[in-house]
Symmetry: C2
Subunit: 427 residues, 2 copies
């Protein structure tokens, strides 16, 4: 059987399972998730064994140790993965929520209900825990899932998916609701991207190049996630001590994540005080500053910034920096170079905060707070499938409700529409 | 200047205008809409004159008179178009609505606000009133709009857009917020479909082939609208008189619209009573029935149905019909052949209604009511940009809120995220 046939087989299985899964009550889904968690713990040995093959292959390929650490599973990590599945089981079920409802003037009872999306495709890199996390969130929200992880984790993911399917076999949730896309070639990703009608949405989780290629090539609707070129703007009216702490927290607390700051913008009115102090503190924290001419003028250690620097998501101890002449210029800079993830203003001025919030067109805008708070967990969602940086469907951290669609239901007693209004048949 | 340069010029103008338009207060947008309505009425002569050129060109091309009637504008129609703009001005502004909000445990004030999408592209066929309707809905929701109407209405649309831009020139809404895509070639549509980053969403309004080509070719996110292969399912427990009235209303009250019924499914238990009666009534209304073998057995006038018939949106006095052995078979038929627009069940059974509603995966499900009620006006939205048959972002009739996205805003007083929880800087 060819690779595309293999793919279509699992995609059709997911689609059929989605139809069975969608109407299940919360109790059935939660029981299935707990069965999955139990099975993962019970079969830890198999998982660690399969993972060891991935790890040694990665080592032979000369993969960096930091990447190998992300790939590696041990009993403690498997237990943590199972624990996360139990936490998802404890979350409220978004399906069936009445989003809006009314009785229309003609007596029709109208309700808008939350329903599963159907089949969700996830394309991701690196850590195999995503395999289980994503599957748990999709099952909880009533969706079947097609998983396409990193080829370097294929043996681990195969074991994890097999264990999940086996566990589901003893529950009301169909085992086919969790599927691994077969194969590790680039082609296997393409099958997923062209599976319009079989897959309802694709969520790529990874670097900018992965996301851009999915957006370009997919005919399945895509939710873009996670590229964060986040800005901290220090306003003319900023409390500069606060600004310094927010800048350092946003840049250095965890530089490798999408809500870390990548660009500092400083209003010219406070540049002479703030910039030299910030350069010293950033240098002390090991951060390389890529500055425009006005920033570079303060310190020879500043690397001259190019256009590319302002558009970058470094994910490292680097930051671009520029001096701007006004709040409007800061907004224009963010609109031009930003990725519409999270941008922060530090200011004491209500007016400045109000204008910045109204004009910055990003998924999240922080006022006097670190950009690091843009996160499903921090927002109280309990779980997160990713952070959307697009405007359709979901924007910002995506929790369980963002994995659903809605359906309108209207109930009458023989309601007919005529050119002169509603008529009730037989009355 | 080449066509693509022409396109990019108007697209950039729309993008810049969108940034200016987004933060405007409701009063400014409403005043601009009223100025547009006044200008349309005042310059009716120009509109009718430009339209006359489109009409005579269409006539020379041998266009059918029904199509010419859709194209034609006179003073009364222009007045109606202006009236519709005033109605949009009277609707509530969706922008700025707080969708969700809370104070997080760490004291961060979190709000999710409704914001405009940015630049909305509309690709549509036929009637020039859509040019003004769509522009009014986009402006009201704070969006700039790129309009790509039928080439047969190009002169009319050019006049309408010019008049709208002139009217906006005297208001706070930037004139560039309403743009006609230049040119009438197929290529000009492609520029719009490839304008990712300049255009935030594309809404194709028209037939299935238009919509499919946009979905296939667009890199801009698309909201699919309007293809309706709607079903009426007559359950074993149906009140058959009610079923007959609902069937006839759904099929014949306005056959050319997307929420008209295209397929009848009858439970085998009532087929012998219902089908012959329905065939007689449908024939009396001039409806041609394309039936499966079990339906055809009742009447020689039934045209044998092919697979294609069950997948068709006739938009005419035709209907496909089949007998099914169970509610489950009806659901399976709808899932297989339907377009996920609107599907109705006629039944007295609570249990049957509940199962049908839970299992039919369509934008709208009607219980004991005609499919014709799936409509923004009937749902009380006051206006409708189209009916989405996809699951992402919007599903079913789309009003003003469906033309918006959201933005998260969080406000602190120096909130920093640390590995041990939130710390407030300087306190």
């Amino acid at each position: 059987m060819s690779e595309v046939d293999d793919f279509l087989k699992v995609a059709h299985a997911a689609r059929e399972s989605a139809a069975e899964l969608a109407p299940l009550a919360r109790a059935a889904k939660d029981a299935a998730l707990r069965a999955v968690a139990d099975a993962l713990v019970a079969r830890t040995g198999e998982i660690v064994e399969a993972n060891a093959l991935d790890v040694s292959a990665a080592r032979e390929n000369g993969t960096a140790e930091t990447m190998i650490d992300r790939l590696r599973l041990d009993a403690a990590r498997v237990a943590a993965i199972a624990g996360a599945v139990r936490e998802v089981a404890d979350l409220p079920d978004p399906v069936g929520e009445v989003v809006r409802g009314s009785t229309l003037p003609n007596g029709l009872e109208l309700r808008q209900l939350r329903v599963p999306l159907g089949v969700v495709g996830i394309i991701y890199e690196g850590r195999p825990n995503v395999t289980v996390d994503a599957a748990a969130l999709c099952l909880k929200s009533g969706n079947a899932v097609l998983l396409r992880g990193s080829s370097s984790a294929y043996r681990s993911n195969t074991a994890l998916v097999q264990i999940m399917q086996d566990a589901l076999g003893g529950t009301e949730v169909p085992a086919g609701a969790v599927q691994l896309v077969p194969g590790t070639t680039r082609e296997s990703v393409k099958h997923l991207m062209r599976a319009r009608g079989l897959v309802d949405v694709l969520i790529p989780r990874g670097g900018a190049s992965l996301i851009n290629s999915v957006v370009e090539e997919s005919t399945v609707p895509v939710i873009e996630t996670g590229v964060g070129n986040c800005h901290v703007y220090v306003d003319a009216d900023a409390d500069l001590d606060l600004a310094m702490e927010i800048l350092l927290n946003a840049k250095t607390q965890r530089p490798s994540v999408c809500n870390a700051a990548e660009t500092l913008l400083v209003h010219a009115a406070v540049a002479e005080t703030f910039v030299p102090a910030a350069l010293a503190r950033l240098a002390a924290e090991g951060v390389t500053v890529h500055g425009d001419e006005r920033v570079a003028a303060y310190d020879a250690a500043v690397v001259p910034a190019t256009e590319d620097d302002f558009g970058q998501e470094y994910l490292s101890l680097d930051i671009a920096a520029a001096v701007v002449d006004s709040l409007e210029d800061a907004v224009a800079h963010i609109r031009r170079y930003g990725s519409a993830h999270t941008d922060a203003i530090v200011t004491r001025s209500q007016k400045a905060a109000r204008r910045f919030v109204a004009r910055v067109d990003s998924a999240a805008v922080a006022v006097n707070a670190s950009t690091r708070f843009t996160d499903g967990g921090e927002f109280g969602f309990g779980a997160e499938i990713g952070i959307s940086t697009q405007k359709l469907h979901a924007r910002g951290p995506m929790g369980l409700p963002e994995l659903t669609s809605t359906k309108w239901v209207y109930t009458g007693e023989g309601h007919l529409r005529t050119s002169s209004g509603t008529v009730i048949a037989g009355s």
